[in-house]
């Protein structure tokens, strides 16, 4: 039994690391969405709310994880506690966790626990994708959000639909589509404005100049300032 508890404690420790890594990911997304919202007049509030929901779910999972870890550690240091009747409900929680561990990667969902394979993939995912420190252009921002979306896409594949995080991850992924679309549009606006400037020498007649000036104004009107990466108001 001690050996089983030790395996469970190890799995819980790994889950803890993975959950913290998910919270870090959420923090990065929060900071990026905050910058985007400042440039796009709070157009991405839904995405922010979904990210807040994700962070809250991760925090709940982390709390559950710490409770389970406490029980496992306590049992390892004082095995005689297992014989006490008051400890039985706590033991049944660990028994359920053990069953999920035996189920495999997509086993029954236990709050605060991630299968070691899933946890390991999450940790690797965070180490694999490092977000850029400096973002000097829309192209940089596009790469940044594409990296984030790829991470969320890979996370979706790790959580079965029954898991409480699953739907939130899908929603965030869909929400990021809209952000990427807006960044893409800004890049197109910049490209087209550049093209109009380059072709301005071809425009010799005033009526053409007026026609293209109108479109230049339309484009300039839709151009938003490049976001400046901040830490978000929570960090201030």
């Amino acid at each position: 039994m001690i050996e089983s508890i030790r395996t469970i404690a190890k799995a819980l420790e790994q889950s803890n690391k993975a959950l913290r890594s998910l919270i870090d990911l959420s923090q990065t997304l929060y900071s990026n969405l905050d910058s985007m919202n400042q440039s796009f007049s709070n157009s991405f509030q839904i995405q922010r709310i979904l990210n807040d929901q994700f962070r809250a779910q991760c925090a709940i999972q982390l709390h559950e994880n710490q409770k389970l870890m406490f029980v496992a550690t306590k049992l390892l240091s004082e095995p005689q506690l297992a014989e006490q009747e008051s400890f039985v409900p706590l033991l049944s929680n660990l028994a359920e966790l053990d069953a999920s561990l035996q189920d495999g990667e997509f086993g029954r969902p236990i709050s605060g626990f991630l299968h070691p394979k899933v946890a390991e993939t999450i940790i690797d995912l965070q180490e694999q994708f490092r977000c850029a420190t400096f973002l000097y252009s829309w192209d940089d921002w596009l790469t940044e959000f594409n990296v984030l979306q790829t991470q969320f896409h890979q996370l979706i594949e790790l959580f079965p639909i029954e898991h409480p995080l699953s739907t939130t991850l899908v929603s965030i992924h869909l929400g990021l589509d809209q952000v990427i679309e807006k960044i893409d549009e800004q890049m197109k606006i910049e490209n087209t404005l550049q093209a109009l400037i380059q072709h301005s020498s071809d425009v010799v007649h005033s009526e053409h100049a007026a026609y293209f000036r109108l479109h230049t104004l339309q484009l300039e009107d839709k151009l938003v300032p490049l976001p400046i990466r901040g830490q978000g108001d929570e960090e201030e």
Binding site: E185, M187, K188, I189, N191, T192, A195, L196, Q198, H199, D202, V203, H205, E207, H208, Y211, F212, H215, Q218, L219, K222
Partner: protein, 94 residues
């Protein structure tokens, strides 16, 4: 939208209208000069200018790449090209 088709139509229409303008230049008649000038003005401003605009639009679209132009503007430009295209039809038979 087939840009190459429009480009071919533009060449034909420009040749046709330029030739008409050249022929109008050759008319030496004092009592017709007002009508000739009016016709020249009409051809230049109502046909040749929109054709020039179509040429500039096509140049911008092809050099920038349609996929790099915002959707709302590309739609507007395509609409403008379609409108100008109606001025170009039928010259291939003349």
């Amino acid at each position: 939208m087939d840009i190459e088709d429009i480009q071919q139509e533009i060449v034909l229409a420009k040749q046709y209208h330029q030739s008409t303008l050249d022929q109008l230049d050759l008319i030496e008649s004092n009592h017709l000069s007002g009508q000739v000038q009016s016709l020249q003005h009409s051809i230049t401003y109502n046909i040749l200018r929109p054709i020039e605009r179509a040429e500039i639009l096509i140049e911008i679209i092809t050099t920038t790449g349609a996929e790099n132009i915002p959707g709302f503007l590309l739609e507007e430009w395509y609409l403008e090209l379609r409108r100008i295209q109606t001025l170009l039809e039928g010259y291939e038979h003349d």
